[in-house]
């Protein structure tokens, strides 16, 4: 029973954060048809920005989180304007965007290494202490709870934005049919920029949240990015609904593997699962894969 509740709880925690990251990736894929391999680097930018604001500038925790997300969003803006916009629309975009994002990731992570050193860092939690749930013998850190609340709230907010606002619908329109969207007067170039900024902010938020309960190092964004990629593909590239569902499923899977089989099995198990999934259902969970959009 304890194991089950532990898996469920961790699963929800992981799932919420992976959902943030995966949503960012899926938005970019939908709108720009690009795989953003700099996503992990943006995660790290958010995490280090928060760390620096808390430890070096002495700002309050939640304010630092907010500003850090802004920093990550800004980095996304820079990435889009300096790099991606130079290769959009030209032939060989698939190659070029892949290399460009890898190059950007290398630069960003090296910069973090230079600025902050290779040592692993931790962030002090906003709320100390645990919540004990007697019936199922579960001990939840308040910090974890905070992370879950922020992540879930953000996911809801993003969903609402994409479904209910004019600009959110425009983003979905661009990713479903760019030509038609342009003909409605939707400015595609601007949409690309906004999508990148939002995606970077989501990655940065994920970085801030996850680092506040685990740790951060210049390369600690790589694994979350891989997992987010798994989620994105599992949920169907470009589908919001699929991505969010997949995030929780993958989160629960990883948590269960960790709890029942041990941490070292978790990662290989996850990859194995993904390989199997890709072979039998390459279009993702709802079959909402490549052919479907936001």
């Amino acid at each position: 029973m304890q194991q089950l509740s532990q898996s469920l709880y961790s699963g929800v925690l992981y799932g919420s954060v992976y959902g943030l990251m995966a949503l960012g990736l899926t938005l970019i894929w939908g709108a720009l048809r690009m795989l953003n391999l700099a996503h992990g680097a943006l995660y790290v930018v958010g995490a280090y920005a928060a760390w620096a604001l808390i430890n070096l500038a002495g700002l309050p925790m939640l304010l630092s989180f907010l500003i850090a997300v802004g920093v990550a969003a800004l980095m996304g803006l820079v990435l889009q304007t300096t790099l991606i916009n130079q290769v959009i629309g030209k032939p060989g975009f698939d190659n070029a965007s892949l290399i460009a994002t890898v190059a950007a990731a290398t630069m960003i992570e090296s910069a973090m290494l230079l600025m902050f050193g290779p040592q692993v860092k931790t962030m002090p939690p906003v709320f100390e202490g645990n919540l004990l749930i007697p019936g199922i013998q579960l001990s939840i850190r308040y910090q974890d709870l905070l992370v879950i609340v922020i992540a879930v709230a953000s996911l809801f907010a993003m969903s609402a934005f994409l479904r209910g606002t004019r600009y959110g619908m425009a983003i979905r329109a661009v990713s479903q049919n760019m030509d038609a969207a342009k003909l409605m007067g939707i400015p595609a170039g601007q949409v690309f920029l906004i999508v990148m900024v939002i995606s970077a902010a989501l990655a940065g938020l994920a970085g801030v949240l996850l680092s506040s309960i685990f740790f951060l190092s210049p390369f600690s964004g790589f694994l979350p990015m891989i997992k987010a990629l798994i989620v994105t593909i599992f949920g169907g590239l470009g589908s919001i609904k699929g991505t969010i569902w997949a995030a929780y499923l993958i989160g629960l899977l990883e948590a269960s593997l960790q709890v029942y089989l041990g941490a070292s099995i978790a990662l290989p198990g996850l990859f194995l699962f993904m390989i199997v999934m890709l072979v039998i259902r390459p279009n993702g969970l709802f079959g909402l894969g490549e052919g479907r959009r936001l």
Binding site: V87, N95, I99, S110, L113, F222, L229, M274
Partner: protein, 351 residues
């Protein structure tokens, strides 16, 4: 682009009555054998000079590194740059080759000369295992699956059984191929010649593939898969074949390196190394023949110049890659050769 050899009709209706291809019709006819031969001769004589010069040993070491790394980059370029398969598993295959032969030689007492041959075989098998599920899928999935494979291997080699991980630092004291050979003075030279031989064989093989009908098919696949398929090119089998071919030589290179350095270290799977190799291909010339070779040489030289500022070096590499992708996406070799071609043309017209 290659020029197709069109046989003049007279050759086909051969005088002896049987239809035979003339020797000069093969792709080998287009190689300037004089140049190649001269270059090989110079390269082969080099260690004889270098071993007698102070610091020469270091240069020889750099050249060996160049030979081996350019095997990896050529093979990686063959599948990524030429055929458009976005695999990030190249270094993992290199590592599999190395670890296989290290394990057999060190733990099971095989002679390195025997175990070396298992390196390419293991790498090829691994490539087939990865390739079967992966290569049927679209580009994005290939990236993910090969990244996952790389990560899995790294995990295994760091956290797996003791004999493999060496407690986290890798395998040390792996038997060498030339140990005190002919009194020890010639050890490095022997390694050099072997590396040169491997490099030459690989380069010729890659060149042959690029200029053969298979090479044309691969370029067709990269440029327009739909059209290629309609012309009867089966993408999956071709990709698998190419993937295996590329893995074979990469594994061999990995095996050599492990016996040369007498260690198998997990650092080979670090992302720094992967990015380094990628940069060599991007900077040299993505999809071209000379690109990876030139790129590897450039990067090795650059790395030596920037030695001591390791962390800045990675930043610089990323920056250069980004600049190349924006301003010279074809890479330096095509850019320079076009530049030179333009100059030659202007000079010719001025006469």
């Amino acid at each position: 682009m290659i020029q197709e050899q069109n046989l003049p009709a007279a050759e086909v209706a051969a005088p002896q009555g049987a239809a035979r291809l003339r020797w000069s019709a093969g792709p080998w006819a287009r190689v300037d054998w004089l140049m190649v031969g001269t270059a090989l001769l110079v390269a082969a004589l080099a260690p004889l000079v270098l071993t007698r010069v102070t610091g020469g040993g270091f240069v020889a070491h750099l050249m060996i590194t160049f030979f081996i790394w350019s095997i990896i980059t050529q093979c990686w370029n063959l599948i990524m740059g030429v055929s458009g398969i976005y695999s990030f598993g190249q270094v993992a295959l290199y590592a599999i080759g190395g670890w296989t032969t290290a394990l057999l030689a060190k733990e099971f007492g095989w002679s390195p000369w025997l175990s070396l041959w298992l390196a390419p075989i293991a790498a090829t098998l691994a490539a087939l295992v990865i390739g079967l599920p992966t290569l049927r899928l679209r580009g994005v999935y290939v990236v993910l699956l090969t990244l996952a494979f790389h990560e899995l291997l790294r995990n295994f080699l760091t956290n797996g059984p003791q004999i493999v991980t060496g407690g986290g630092t890798g395998m040390v004291n792996v038997p060498k191929l030339f140990d005190q050979f002919l009194g020890g003075g010639m050890d490095q030279a022997m390694h050099y010649w072997l590396a040169l031989a491997l490099f030459t064989i690989t380069t010729l093989a890659v060149w042959a593939i690029l200029h053969s009908p298979i090479g044309v098919a691969f370029r067709a696949l990269r440029d327009s898969e739909v059209y290629a398929v309609s012309r009867g090119v089966d993408p999956f089998r071709f990709k698998l074949l190419l993937f295996a071919f590329s893995a074979f030589f990469t594994g061999l290179a990995g095996g050599f390196m492990v016996h040369y350095q007498a260690t198998a270290s997990q650092s080979v799977l670090s992302f720094g190394f992967v990015i380094n190799l990628l940069a060599m291909i991007v900077i040299g010339g993505w999809g071209s023949f000379w690109g990876p070779i030139v790129g590897t040489a450039l990067m090795i030289v650059l790395s030596e110049l920037l030695r001591g500022v390791d962390d800045y070096r990675n930043f610089m590499i990323g920056l250069i890659m980004a600049l190349i992708v924006i301003f010279a996406p074809q890479g330096l070799v095509p850019l320079v050769s076009k530049f030179v071609g333009d100059i030659m043309r202007t000079l010719r017209e001025a006469e």
